[in-house]
């Protein structure tokens, strides 16, 4: 089934301003402060004010369930417009941006804002807690590391990779992302790690060790989206929305009928398919210049390489070995350090990733050592649940 804007979509919309807070354990900073940090950077970047925003989409998963979009209205004193909140797990940030795109594209408004903010460090405990779903017993002790680790065992077995080989393979992703993160001032972690450190780190959920897992941190990010014709009046270098995608699986894909083998995810494949169709991308491996993907765990990043078509099925290990996703490789992935270094304030992550694309494509990265050369089109992507929902966005600095 193909759908999605058959009358054309490309380059109708653009991002005119973005903001991103410092990520980390921000004990002295509240949710509203995080919202203000990201929103005001975006306002200043776009040259607009809060009163210019006509609709706002708030991504947040951990604030109390009855607060709706009010944290944004309260923090920014931005009231009298629609502000809705979505809590689509790790994909919430992307979905807020997609909602903003749809609001503008539909003609409902001219300028919409997507903001993701998460205050995980007010939870009182590390991690994201145990138990998932609508049922009190079936997923009692399910947590994020345990769920994503199930992929690793299945992948290694399917492709005949030994535990030792697999550990080393995944460790290379962690080493890459940490090296990249060391160049990101706004990241939570800046430490460079070695292969040996990663492999010998304490086990979290086999085979994933400490450095295979991202941290939990506080953070926020914001995007202001408008029509391209308005965007050009506001700035010379708007970043155009080329496409986006979203796909949801059941809360327990484990229970799907047979076709699910834990090495590939329908939500990832369909999400990619939708975005590529909108953006007119046939071969993402060559047509994308950079990507920010959901490295909540190293195995997740590897899985995304394949389901997003960066690598052939079963070929991600070879691409990792050959350094294809390094910052100097064919398709640099997570050049800002990814979730591995930013941590994962759930609702903020998708917008934070897109912030990196935006700055890279404008050649305005905060640390010049991180700036890629000659980049035109990038993809950001989140995958949440544990693995049931994927969303992504493709942006570019040129029309056409």
């Amino acid at each position: 089934m193909t759908m999605y804007f058959k009358d054309g979509f490309k380059d109708d919309l653009a991002i005119i301003g973005m903001g991103c807070s410092k990520f980390g354990e921000r004990w002295d900073t509240g949710l509203e402060d995080l919202i203000i940090d990201a929103a005001y950077e975006a306002f200043e970047d776009a040259g607009v004010g809060s009163k210019d925003i006509q609709a706002c989409f708030f991504a947040n998963t951990n604030a109390p369930n009855n607060c709706s979009g009010t944290p944004v209205a309260d923090a920014l004193k931005m009231h009298g417009i629609p502000i809705t909140r979505n809590e689509n797990w790790c994909a919430a940030g992307h979905i807020a941006m997609i909602d903003a795109c749809l609001a503008v594209k539909s003609g409902m408004c001219d300028i919409a804002m997507a903001i993701g903010a998460e205050k995980l460090k007010d939870r009182g405990s590390g991690g994201l807690g145990v138990g998932r779903g609508l049922n009190p017993v079936r997923e009692t002790r399910r947590d994020a590391p345990g769920s994503f680790a199930l992929i690793a065992e299945a992948y290694f077995r399917k492709y005949g990779i030994s535990d030792e080989e697999g550990k080393e393979l995944l460790a290379k992703i962690a080493v890459k992302n940490h090296a990249n993160g060391s160049l990101s001032p706004k990241a939570h972690f800046h430490n460079i790690v070695t292969l040996e450190q990663v492999i010998k780190a304490p086990l979290i959920a086999s085979p994933l060790g400490l450095y295979d897992c991202c941290g939990t941190s506080d953070g926020s990010a914001c995007a202001i989206i408008t029509r391209s014709d308005i965007a050009r009046q506001l700035r010379d270098d708007p970043i155009y929305i080329k496409g986006f995608g979203c796909s949801t699986d059941m809360i327990t894909p484990h229970y799907r009928y047979r076709d699910f083998d834990w090495t590939s995810f329908e939500s990832l494949r369909k999400c990619a398919q939708m975005a590529y169709a909108m953006a007119g991308i046939v071969n993402p491996r060559t047509e994308l210049d950079l990507a920010e993907v959901h490295d909540c765990f190293t195995i997740t990043e590897m899985c995304i390489y394949e389901d997003f078509g960066f690598s052939e099925k079963g070929a991600a290990p070879r691409d990792i070995e050959e350094g294809f996703f390094e910052r100097t490789g064919g398709l640099p992935v997570n050049v800002d350090g990814g979730l591995k270094c930013f941590g994962h304030p759930v609702g903020a992550s998708g917008i934070r990733m897109t912030y990196e694309l935006y700055k890279q494509l404008q050649y305005k990265v905060d640390n010049p050592k991180r700036q890629l050369k000659n980049v035109h089109r990038g993809l950001s992507q989140t995958f949440g649940g544990p693995p049931q929902i994927a969303a992504c966005m493709i942006v570019g600095n040129e029309k056409g």
């Binding site: 405990s125 991690g127 807690g129 145990v130 138990g131 998932r132 779903g133 609508l134 049922n135 009190p136 017993v137 079936r138 997923e139 009692t140 002790r141 399910r142 947590d143 590391p145 345990g146 769920s147 680790a149 199930l150 992929i151 690793a152 065992e153 299945a154 077995r157 304490p202 086990l203 979290i204 959920a205 086999s206 085979p207 994933l208 327990t252 484990h254 229970y255 799907r256 009928y257 047979r258 699910f260 834990w262």
Partner: protein
Amino acid sequence: MKIGIKSLGAYLPYNYLSRAAINRAWGSKGGKGEKSVADVDEDSLTLAVEAAMSCFRFIEREKIDTLYFASTTGAYAEKSHSALISVACDLNDESMFTVDFAASTRAGTNAMKAALDAAAGNSNRNILVAAADVRNAFPKSPLENSFGDGSAALVIGSGNDLLAEVEFFTSVNEEINDYWRNAGEKYTRHSEGRFCDEEGYLREVKIILNKLQKNTGTMISEFEKVVLTAQNTKLQVKIAEKFAIAPEKLVDTLLVNVGDTGAAQALIGIVNALENAKAGDRILVVDYGNGANAMVLKVTENITKISDFQQIQRYLEKRVEMDSYVKFLSWRDIAAAEPGGAFKLPASSAQTWREQNINLRLHGSVCKKCSSVLYPVARICDNCGSKDEYDEVRLSDHICKLYTYCRDEYAGRSDSPVIIQAVAEDPTGCHVYMIMTDCRQDEIKAGMNLEFSFRKMHELGNFPNYFWKVRPLRREKV
């Protein structure tokens, strides 16, 4: 009409503590044998389900119309346990009579007596009697050393398919505070040892054995096997000496290797006796607790059908020694564990009731159109898309293969942090996601056989919430 035992099953927890380790923890030496320890997610109710499920090896569950549960340590003070055990065993609510027998360590054989009477009154009835106990004793007390956790179950009925006929049953009553636990208390109390032994156990057992000799005309020494429940082996030896029972005739009620399993001890002894019996053997069973019960079993030719299905020895061989006495104290909430991360789960008695077929009976659905089997019960078939065209199917007795897994180091509570997250595939191709338990790290391998085990998951909503886990085969064998 012959009345007796048609099927049997026992269950012993995977974990045990050596008594030497308990004593060592308190700075003293010595200690013989082991004490079996229910896991942090086991209670007398889950133990009873384990034993009861084994009974369906020798009788179809559809034939069971009554379930008696016997224990001094039920999870609830008010609410039926037998009702829940019946559902976990996937017995038919519409034809079931369920009763709980409690308070006395004699509850197991008390339930048997009620079952025998019921079978005598109606030849069509088959009564499942499940006895289990998970008793607590004061830390460092002798009772802590002697208590152990376990369960056994028997199906009582009449007909030609008996494994053993119950030829004779008699009881005596005695009001005495030798062992007791006040309402609301955690630990079993006892009176002075010599008083308990002499005016309690030894006196009552002598009375009932003399009565039995007189009424049956059979000398105690003539029985081929004697199941003699007791608080310790010394008492068993004293009775054996008094009635000239040859030592080899005394059936092991597992006091040394498992411990005093309370209401379950007599039934565990009966299972152990029958698993090693031959046709024609006469087995004397004596159970104690505020009086005594005694019965005579006569083993039938049918006993050969269980000869390849001995469980007790298998359970004793396939278990592990706990590395820590402190962990035992924590599992029993004697030394409290730090609560784990907040559960992100709903807890609702209405939902638990509504979804009991899925969660307690472990029902999936089989599509009438395309035969796909799905768990949990799916109103919409994930394969062919049909709506509300399915039959429910029980998965709990399926043997699955491990599909994928991980060892999650921090998902559990502080005293048992490691959780094996597992996806298993049943013989129909249906996938289930569950926690895997009772396994050694080095034995976990994709493709290995797994069976389902009924467990307590948590107490959200202020009641115990039960579900299933998977584990390497212990109850079943391939």
